[in-house]
Amino acid sequence: MIVDRRKLNWTERLYFPAILQGLAITWKHFKKSLFGKGIITMQYPEEKWDARLPEWYRGAPTLVKDEHGRERCVSCQLCEFICPPRAITIQPMEISEGDPWRKVEKEPRIFDIDMARCIYCGLCEEVCPEQAIFLRKDYSVIGLDRSQMVHHKEKLYEMGGVMTGLVFKWNEKK
């Protein structure tokens, strides 16, 4: 699109009136903020987003268990493959004989997400056929070195908790 440029009249071409107008605007904002009015930023450590986070917020990825307390993840490794920065490392393991959920065949032995790599894209959540991995509302992930930035399985389940009312393919009746 070509934007038509208006021909400036001579006062506009002097620039000074426009500059003074600009200075007046910034001055108004300065004066207002000086008395603490109109400050639109949040004072972070005291005020936090937590209460206002929307439902669809994409925080740190976590693993969830179902209402029977079973890991939903079946170690299909789809998330590991789709993860753009390759933050996920999974080692699958066969579910032992005698387990009531033997039918499911696999569960993760190791499930690591390296939060120093994760870009919070949400692709893992999207791709998971079992609805086992969700991006929850934790946004402040802290570690003093790289190893502390890796979330292991226990930590992931702890953060994820239980999710009920989801599709549940391993129901006995099916």
Binding site: G22, T26, W27, F30, K32, S33, I39, Q43
Partner: protein
């Protein structure tokens, strides 16, 4: 027995003669000059470096307030210790030199940026006199030219930093900086010619004294003979105002005011401040010439830039805004209290001008490079030359 005899008893004769010799040297003309100059330099350096770190703080706070934010307000009351925290952080970082950089010039460049603005301050009359000692460190007959000459050298640091980093963006920054500085130095120097024509001296002290007597150069009239007592008698005050209103003064004020605007704007370009900060242009050049610097190297660039701002503001104040003078306030020869008031006045003016610099920075958008060059060469340069002729015409008409 007088006091010196009493004191001399506490020393052995040899030590006493030595002490007397030292004291004698301190009071001899040359010794007196040396130590007062050293003290003045040290104090000025201290004040200016303190001012620099708080200018950085002011820049951050003011910019935040203009943008409806709060800015750094955590370290100390209202964030007043933020400069200390910044300095500590910068000192503790790794001073990294890129592998492909030219080590010698890469390390030399930040120092070259820092030194010239400090040198400029040597000729600025930051106060009148204290205990009979003039405050100006070096009262040169060529003071104004010295300011221009030294600030023209400061471009070397920037150019060298750009070149020696051996990387694209710093290089562009360095190239831009050199062409910009050369263009604006012309109007910077030429805009001052009417001032010199009027006052007939390049000595900054003389220029300030002229303004004390005849009024600041930016004002079209000046209430002459105004005193404190006159302020309480409306008739006298009115008379003083009327005495200041003269066609003569108004006529030569016109070229001087044009000079002032030209000098102010060129100073923005010369110190790389925002409407003209193309050498660093965070958004296009990622910081320009100092992209590759870290730790103290970066800090020196930062400090150098703000020192240059202070030096520029001091030059503007000395040349056009009356230096250390304030109407009705006598100079330091009337007692040391007034001498200190003069110094405080000067720095108050500097702070006000610095705040103006900051205010402008957070108001105006950046020029495009061709616009910048066009403005410099097609407009300011010509205007400065026309202004010289205008001043000449006015002065011949007046005399």
């Amino acid at each position: 027995m007088d006091a010196s005899n009493v004191i001399s008893q506490f020393f052995s004769p040899a030590a006493w003669t030595f002490l007397k010799a030292v004291a004698g040297w301190f009071m001899s003309p040359i010794g007196f000059l040396v130590w007062t100059t050293l003290v003045k330099s040290a104090v000025l350096l201290g004040i200016v470096l303190g001012l620099v770190s708080y200018t950085v703080y002011a820049e951050r706070r003011v910019s935040a307030l203009i943008q409806d934010r709060l800015g750094p307000n955590r370290v100390g009351w209202q964030g007043l210790l933020q400069p200390v925290a910044d300095a500590l952080k910068l000192l503790l970082k790794e001073n990294f030199t890129p592998k492909s950089a030219n080590y010698f010039y890469f390390r030399l460049a930040p120092k070259l940026v820092m030194v010239p603005p400090i040198l400029v301050l040597a000729v600025i009359p930051v106060g009148s006199s204290l205990f009979g000692v003039p405050i100006t460190i070096a009262s040169l007959n060529t003071g104004a030219l010295y300011v221009l000459a030294i600030s023209s050298i400061s471009v070397y640091g920037i150019v060298l930093a750009g070149w020696s980093s051996n990387s694209k963006y710093p290089f562009l920054g360095g190239i831009r900086s050199s062409s910009q500085m050369i263009s604006y130095e012309l109007s910077l120097a030429l805009s001052l010619v009417p001032v010199f024509m009027l006052i007939g001296s390049l000595n900054l002290d003389t220029i300030v004294h002229y303004q004390v007597e005849h009024g600041w150069l930016v004002f079209p009239f000046w209430p002459k003979g105004m005193t404190f007592s006159a302020l309480w008698h409306p008739a006298e005050a009115l008379n003083a105002f009327r005495a200041g209103l003269s066609l003569k003064h108004f006529l030569y004020w016109i070229p001087l005011f044009i000079s002032f605007l030209l000098f102010l704007i060129s100073m923005f370009a010369e110190t790389n401040r925002l409407p003209f900060d193309l050498p660093e242009a965070e958004q296009e050049l990622i910081g320009g010439y100092h992209t590759e610097y870290s730790s103290m190297g970066f800090a020196l660039f930062f400090l150098g830039e703000y020192t240059a701002m202070i030096a520029g503001a001091s030059a503007i104040i000395t040349l056009f805004l009356g230096g250390w003078s304030l109407p009705l306030i006598p100079d330091g020869s009337h007692g040391w209290g007034w001498g200190i008031v003069n110094i405080v006045t000067f720095f108050a003016k500097v702070v006000a001008l610095l705040l103006f610099f900051i205010w402008v920075r957070w108001t105006l958008p950046r020029f495009r490079f061709d616009q910048l060059m066009k403005l410099g060469w097609y407009f300011f340069f010509e205007l400065a030359i026309v202004n010289i002729f205008l001043a000449a015409a006015v002065l011949t008409y007046i005399h």
